[in-house]
């Protein structure tokens, strides 16, 4: 292919090349804000943190290379690392499926032809815009505190107050309810997916007398699996990095029961100034997320169905 192109280009090579070069320069100039941002704000810190992870850098003094000491320390001599890893895994297991289920449910509810449905779709997307903010976390704290609104509602149903955030057994569950509320972006994707499902299939199922639940599990869900996979991966990555909710609502407590990985990183870097150690922990988090993503991709062959067979043909 390249020979053919070269052959065609040869007669007027010089002016074309100049023109192309100019075009590329303009193109690069246009994307330079992103490029500079990527190099300075992403690539540089990325590489720097890898280097720091082998040092005892503490932000204020000079630092020394310590080899693998940071990595050895976290796996052999740091009980908070193990605790935080456990809490984070539990959090991911609770928050991600719950969020996807709600997103799908809402998407199905909004996938109807009705006057003003656009308005409702916008309304249901709103929480996602507010979702990760400090303000919503503070609101969550007030809703779920012992004297909060949730308990007053329960008490009007004669249910005795539940200590949502003060009980170490319940606090993580309460925190993992917060992202469920931010289902918007997953919902939009599900909605787009639902619109792609060929109506003939539903009609055929109807003619065959299939019940709605059966239709859902045998037509809708299988056809949505590529979108489920995408949402699952994105939300899992997000959930592993959660910070705000735990920081604002419980500050990792009670008894470290909501001490998410992000919070531990924050403590090590900005409370104890163990930047080297925190960098090493970030890289472990990166590897964990990478492994989870790879496993999801690998296993998806068995459960994600593509109409075209999955190889794009």
């Amino acid at each position: 292919m390249s020979t053919r192109l070269d052959h065609r280009r040869q007669p007027a090579a010089a002016p074309v090349r100049r023109k192309k070069r100019k075009g590329q320069a303009i193109g690069l100039a246009y994307i330079s804000p992103w490029l500079i941002g990527f190099l300075v704000l992403t690539l540089f810190p990325f590489v720097a943190s890898l280097v720091y992870s082998f040092t005892d850098y503490n932000m204020v003094g000079s630092f020394h290379f310590v080899g693998l000491a940071n990595y050895v320390e976290m796996f052999t001599n740091d009980p908070t690392f193990a605790q935080s890893l456990k809490v984070t895994l539990l959090y991911v297991l609770m928050a991600v499926p719950a969020k996807l289920a709600i997103a799908l449910l809402v998407a199905m509810a909004l996938n109807i032809k009705m006057k003003g449905i656009g308005f409702y779709r916008t309304i249901y997307y709103l929480p996602s815009i507010l979702g990760g903010s400090i303000a919503v976390s503070v609101l969550w704290r007030f809703l779920f505190m012992k004297e909060g609104l949730v308990n007053s509602m329960l008490s009007s149903l004669s249910i005795s107050p539940i200590n949502w955030l003060g009980d170490p057994k319940l606090a993580l569950f309460t925190i993992s309810l917060l992202p469920v509320w931010e289902f918007g972006s997953s919902m939009v994707l599900f909605l787009a997916g639902l619109k792609q499902v060929p109506q003939e299939l539903y009609e055929a199922a109807k003619v065959d007398g299939a019940a709605r639940i059966r239709t859902f599990f045998h037509i809708t869900l299988p056809l949505l699996t590529p979108i489920v996979l995408f949402n699952l991966i994105m939300q899992t990555i997000n959930a592993f990095q959660q910070f705000t909710a735990a920081f604002v609502i419980t500050d990792g407590g009670p008894m470290k029961s909501t001490y998410l990985y992000g919070l531990m990183l924050y403590d090590n870097s900005f409370q104890f100034f163990k930047m080297g150690y925190a960098s090493a922990q970030s890289w472990i988090l990166f590897v964990i997320i990478l492994l989870f993503t790879l496993v999801l991709f690998k296993t998806s062959n068995r459960w994600a169905h593509y109409e075209d067979g999955g190889d794009g043909k």
């Binding site: 590329q24 012992k146 003060g166 008894m255």
Partner: protein
């Protein structure tokens, strides 16, 4: 071919960026020197955190100073306490820290001692009115490793603060001389009288564990030689006592209080269901905004205590950045702000009671200081414990103590186990601290 050309471009861009970043990152070598500084107009960046009242007072003082010293421009940078330390350390790391900033006591170890990022004010003696301060106070609370790391902006100390209404309701005398036994006895009675009432809120390592153990041992929590200042037996006593208070309803159940690290914000305190707290004089103004009618008395000290362990410290020594271009001007301003009577009248008690003794007396006389705050500082300074050393203020070590104390409160650890774990984990961690 396309790829080649692209990589050439990308390479050039990378190079340009690297040069730009290196240029931006390399800090000012400061070669401009002091001579030049004298001639040109000095600009000082002064950064602080605090409440609106404090901001207003400092801004007013800055204006007055600039009026009197037209060659000096002071740029104020102020905000809340949240994130201040993180920002400050990042600024120090990036070479953009302000010329003047107050330091919280628990940062001194990192910034002034280990980091060596601020000037030793003894080197600027000629520009400072050090005589205005009590020499012993400066030596005990603002001098570390022989270096005067800042000028104390105020005197601060821990006291027992109580809700007068609560004391009246339960017939507790305001003159009670508190020790750990009286707390248990009276607190138990209070809770028996009213199951919703508790004498105390949540304890943490700083207001309970460290002082309780120090009173038993007479040592620092962690000795300067990186050994523990206590043994497992002393820690076990503290944990057992704490558990007893929780079991007998002297302290609000931890399941309810753990959401409020700051007792002043605890709804039960605000509703008048909690009777007293141990707190620093500098926080009294905030507590009073929720509970106006409060009194203060001495922190609990048992008769046989080997040290009072009453925490006393300068509320935020004002430090000067080592890299400042104008050390002398910065020193002159800091000295004026904290010793000049006119400045004192503007600042009043925004940093607790002034550490400059003559100013403190003057403000008290003129009624410009909140009497509760003045009384609190006087009480704390009347029986101060030894100044807390850097290692006993180490955040990471204290986090370990706090975690274990919390697990005792949640009944996940028995006092003996807790004491064992505390001593072994602290000893482990101390080995890794340089």
């Amino acid at each position: 071919m396309k790829l080649k050309r692209f990589s050439k471009w990308a390479g050039l861009l990378c190079l340009a960026l690297t040069v730009a970043v290196t240029a931006a990152c390399s800090s000012d070598s400061g070669s401009s020197g002091a001579e030049e500084a004298k001639e040109e107009k000095a600009t000082l960046r002064f950064s602080w955190w605090g409440s609106e009242v404090r901001h207003q007072a400092l801004l007013e003082a800055i204006d007055l100073y600039m009026e009197k010293n037209p060659n000096v421009t002071i740029e104020p940078e102020y905000g809340g306490f949240d994130g201040y330390y993180q920002k400050l350390v990042t600024q120090f790391a990036g070479g953009t820290a302000p010329d003047l900033t107050p330091l919280s006591v628990d940062w001194i170890e990192e910034i002034a001692v280990k980091g060596n990022l601020v000037l030793d004010l003894n080197t600027l003696k000629d520009h400072l009115n050090l005589d205005a301060f009590d020499a012993e106070f400066l030596n005990d609370y603002a001098t570390f490793d022989g270096k005067l790391i800042g000028l104390p902006m105020g005197a601060n100390g821990i006291v027992t603060l109580y809700n007068r209404e609560f004391f009246e309701k339960f017939g507790i005398s305001e003159n009670t001389k508190w020790d750990w036994n009286t707390i248990h006895e009276i607190g138990k009675k209070v809770h028996e009288q009213d199951p919703d009432a508790y004498l105390l809120g949540l304890f943490d390592y700083r207001i309970f564990l460290q002082p309780f153990v120090n009173q038993l041992t007479g040592n620092q929590w962690i000795n300067d030689d990186k050994s523990l200042g206590f043994d497992a037996a002393a820690a076990e006593k503290a944990f057992a006592y704490y558990r007893q208070l929780l079991d007998d309803g002297v302290i609000q159940p931890v399941e309810e209080s753990s959401l409020y690290p700051d007792l002043a914000e605890n709804l039960q305190w605000q509703n008048g269901n909690i009777g007293m707290m141990f707190t620093l004089a500098s926080t009294i103004a905030k507590v009073k905004s929720y509970t106006p009618d409060v009194g203060v008395s001495m922190f609990p000290v048992p008769a046989d205590a080997k040290t009072s362990a009453v925490l006393v410290n300068p509320s935020n020594p004002l430090a000067i950045n080592k890299d400042t271009k104008y050390p002398e001007e910065a020193a002159k301003f800091a000295s004026w702000l904290l010793t000049d009577p006119e400045a004192a009248r503007i600042l009043k008690d925004v940093y607790s009671v002034p550490a400059a003794t003559a100013n403190a007396a003057m403000l008290a006389e003129e009624g410009l200081i909140d009497p509760t705050v003045a009384e609190a500082v006087e009480i704390a300074l009347s029986n101060p414990g030894a100044p807390v050393n850097g290692l006993s203020n180490n955040n990471e070590l204290n986090q370990i103590s706090q975690d274990i104390l919390e697990r005792v409160a949640f009944r996940k650890l028995e006092p003996a186990q807790a004491a064992e774990e505390l001593t072994s984990r602290l000893a482990d961690k101390l080995q890794t601290i340089k």
